[in-house]
């Protein structure tokens, strides 16, 4: 199966080269058969990558311990669940997994547009094939996952040998979230290839209008959704597995996942200016280019060893390939832009500073500044070493100080932006839309201050969150009220109806609401508490309202590891509340250990209990307990963001009815432009 996989990868590489070279000829000659043949070669490339990937998965499941990658990342006792995760747990497999996910996107795009956009698709196909060639080069010639264990034999030939068992999977990766976090994050990274290919293709083809933006909106939303989910799942994994009580440590690899998310978010906002007003064309094209390049940069940081991180793969020379690829992309994008920049001239102008357009500009400014600040902070240790010879670390305190104020500005714009009108917002509109939310949030902030909330950042965050929530709720309320007055349905049903009539706009509000919840959760970090204590059986530890009683401590052998487990009874007001089982697992195969944190999570706070090992002095078990307020809001907010993104991807109800030929009842047409308040006028296909 290893030979089969290798062969499939090699064939995929050849097909990708044909799709690339043939694609260039197809663009020049416009020969229909060649165009078709090139497209089919692109699809065949994807099919062959699927085969290679499944071959590697099969090698894991069949315990093929003559394949070096399988030996390094699996063992016989590893559960089936984690044998799947082993696919992306190392350099070679994760690169194949990257190619696999990219192939899914490429195949979907080529298939979806096989009979559409005949002018544009050959260019897109060439760009996609170019990207695939790079990753297939790595898969085939630089980091093949199908290498076998071999020693030089007596006659000079290599003798393949088989190991009895593998080294096992890194304990940190033996956690359910590691089975879904990397696929999500990688789906985000690879997903941005599609908007990149369309943007570059459209630029090269001088494709007219905003067509490429319309074509790629859903692809971008999907990639962004995966990226968001991936980042949050990674944060949750860090929280639940690493056992340091936090979820975001501004580690270089964490930062690498945030960078394309920031530019991708900026793009999703600024793209509306191009759709609505024909503005920011140059900016949007470069934002997509930048987002894709940051995806590549992110994986470069993870794989090259340029920056030190617990999440990074082992240091290797593969980083040079990525740096070269990045340079090539930059040159191609720059040349394409210089040659075709006339096509990107803006059609419209700004009527007023107080307008939706301005808010988007500032939104983009904040996101980009945050992105560049995080990037320069991440790379500063490297630059400082180059310049002065000594490496200066840039840790979490720096990133927090820089990004928290930027986050607040962004939060403020989240509330303000959607309520500003395109072109110009009148004073009346400003008063009508912002008066109540502003007064409400300021009063609520004052009450919180009076009640003892003195933490400056938390107070500001709370006030801004309330401001944004109230602006969003008022928007829903106004819209639902009009729908209700026409349809007579309940308020909740009217709100749903309203959302389904303009999924993009109201889905966007749901996303914003999710972001607010995440900010609320982040604000809680200012009030974290922790206590560490050596505990005898029967002794207690007090943290916040909880009293932890150590009932027992045991060492128990399991199939793949030995667990040291504490049995802790949690009491509140002297009443038993629940049992927690923090443990540490020692994996014999690779002599590594991992933490299993016990968390009792409520909306108010998380009781986070870590078994921190035994005291070196007297072998007494040590407990490290944390009380982390509002953490659950972050995960809940993440779910809302993902749901909101899914809503934005749904077709508007009116579109569905139009497509199906159904007649919408008259009562369900509540919003004729003359009756609807300006802020809730509905149009399809726009935010």
């Amino acid at each position: 199966m290893d030979v089969f996989g290798s062969f499939a990868l090699l064939l995929a590489f050849i097909c990708a080269v044909y799709a690339f070279v043939g694609g260039i000829f197809a663009i020049r000659t416009r020969h229909p058969l060649l165009v078709k043949s090139v497209r089919q070669a692109g699809m065949a490339t994807c099919g062959l990558i699927f085969i290679a990937t499944f071959s590697l998965v099969y090698l894991f499941f069949s315990d093929s311990y003559w394949v070096a990658y399988v030996v390094a990342h699996s063992n016989r006792d590893l559960s089936t669940f984690y044998k799947v995760a082993a696919l992306w747990s190392g350099q070679e497999g994760s690169l194949l997994f990257w190619s696999f996910l990219l192939a899914i996107y490429v195949f979907s795009a080529l298939f979806a547009y096989r009979n559409k956009n005949g002018e544009l698709m050959p260019y897109v196909g060439v760009v996609l094939a170019g990207v695939q060639i790079f990753f297939l080069t790595l898969n085939n010639f630089v980091a093949s996952p199908f290498k076998v264990l071999a020693t030089p034999g007596a006659n000079g030939a290599l003798d393949i040998f088989t190991r009895a068992d593998g080294n096992g999977l890194n304990p940190l990766l033996q956690y359910p979230e590691m089975v879904i976090h990397p696929p999500n994050l990688y789906s985000g990274y690879t997903g941005f290839t599609i908007p990149f290919a369309f943007a570059l293709g459209a630029l090269l083809a001088r494709y007219p209008g905003e067509k490429w933006i319309h074509l790629t909106r859903k692809w971008t939303m999907i990639a962004w959704c995966f990226q968001t989910a991936g980042v949050l799942l990674g944060a949750h994994w860090a929280y639940a597995v690493l056992g340091w009580g936090g979820y975001w440590g501004w580690d270089p690899v964490e930062n690498a996942s945030l960078l394309p998310w920031l530019t991708g978010t900026a793009f999703l906002h600024s793209v509306m200016m191009q759709e609505k007003r024909g503005m920011m064309k140059v900016w949007n094209v470069w934002l997509v280019f930048l987002t894709f390049m940051l995806c590549i940069l992110g994986t470069t940081l993870t794989r090259s060893g340029i920056v030190s991180s617990v999440h990074a793969f082992a240091q290797s020379s593969i980083g040079n390939w990525f740096v070269g690829f990045l340079a090539l992309i930059l040159v191609v994008c720059f040349v394409a832009y210089v040659k075709n920049r006339d096509y990107l001239k803006s059609e419209n102008h700004l009527d007023s500073i107080i307008s939706r357009e301005s808010s988007f500009l500032f939104n983009n400014l904040i996101l980009l500044v945050s992105c560049i600040a995080v990037l320069s902070g991440t790379l500063f240790p490297v630059f400082s070493e180059w310049l002065s010879g000594s490496r200066i670390s840039v840790g979490a305190p720096f990133f927090n100080k820089v990004n928290i104020p930027l986050g607040f500005l962004l939060l403020f714009l989240t509330g303000v932006g959607p309520l500003l009108a395109w072109r110009k917002t009148s004073k009346d509109s400003l008063k009508r839309n912002f008066g109540r939310p502003l007064v409400f949030s300021v009063i609520a902030g004052a009450i919180a201050f009076a009640l003892g909330l003195r933490e400056f950042y938390s107070l500001i965050c709370l006030t801004l969150c309330l401001f944004v929530v109230s602006t969003i709720l008022i928007e829903f309320y106004r819209g639902a009220k009009v729908v209700r007055s026409r349809s007579g349905a309940s308020f909740a049903a009217s709100a749903v109806d309203l959302t389904m009539r303009n999924t993009r706009r109201y889905g966007g509000y749901v996303v914003h609401m999710g972001m607010v919840l995440i900010f609320v959760g982040l604000a809680g970090a200012a009030f974290n508490k922790d206590v560490q204590k050596e505990m005898q059986i029967g002794s207690t530890l007090q943290i916040g309202p909880y009293n932890l009683l150590l009932q027992s401590f045991e060492s128990k052998p399991e199939k793949n590891y030995t667990a040291e487990r504490m049995v802790v009874e949690v009491m509140r007001d002297n009443k038993p509340l629940m049992m927690l089982y923090p443990e540490r697992r020692f994996f014999q195969t690779n002599e590594q250990s991992g933490t299993m944190v016990a968390i009792y999570s409520t909306l108010q706070h998380d009781l986070y209990v870590v078994y921190a090992g035994q005291s070196p002095d007297n072998q007494t078990p040590v407990v490290h307990a944390y009380l982390n307020p509002l953490v659950k809001w972050i995960w809940f907010g993440g779910v809302i963001v993902v749901l909101g993104t899914i809503v934005t991807l749904l077709p508007n109800r009116r579109s569905v009815l139009a497509l199906s030929g159904a007649q919408e009842p008259a009562a369900a047409h509540p919003m004729t432009p003359t009756l609807a308040p300006s802020s809730i006028t509905m149009r399809e296909g726009h935010d």
Partner: protein
């Protein structure tokens, strides 16, 4: 009388316990506060007080050294110098605000400043374009201000979503 003496004695005992334990609590807080400014040197890329690696000898030794320095009453500067001498500048959790490291602090503000200037420039350029166009000159087109405002509201309504 005896009871009141006992109460006084109890009070002094408690005051003594508090007086003895307060410096210890203050020391722990101070050590934690200073420890938050250093990185653990085990390669975990975490702040010293947050490293929880199983059997991490590096953070244990560093924290022990920190506790001893704090117990001796060393100033933060002295403690910092000691750590920098031992581990180099990479021990800082955040770059010091001097020398080359100052660049790291200044850059985000510079980005924001340049970006803001750029956005303001773009907005003013777009505005000047529209002001220069004859189509927007109400008087010349013969529309009254009221008519223009009505039309503007209609356009806003049509374009807003």
């Amino acid at each position: 009388m005896i009871r009141s003496h006992r109460l006084v004695a109890f009070f002094f005992c408690m005051a003594g316990i508090v007086a003895f334990s307060l410096p210890a609590v203050a020391q722990v807080d101070r050590a934690r506060q200073i420890g938050g400014k250093f990185m653990c040197m085990c390669g975990c890329n975490q702040v010293l007080t947050q490293c929880n690696h199983v059997g991490c000898t590096t953070s244990t030794a560093m924290l022990k050294e920190l506790d001893q320095s704090v117990a001796r009453g060393d100033s933060e500067d002295v403690i910092t110098q000691g750590f920098v001498q031992e581990f180099g500048t990479k021990v800082y959790a955040e770059p010091p605000k001097s020398g080359l490291s100052l660049v790291a602090w200044v850059l985000p503000s510079v980005y924001l400043l340049i970006g803001t200037v750029l956005v303001v420039f773009i907005i003013s350029r777009w505005r000047s374009r529209v002001l220069g166009e004859p189509a927007t000159a109400g008087g010349a087109s013969g529309f009254s201000a009221e008519e223009l405002e009505r039309a503007r509201r209609r356009v806003a309504r049509d374009t807003e979503d």
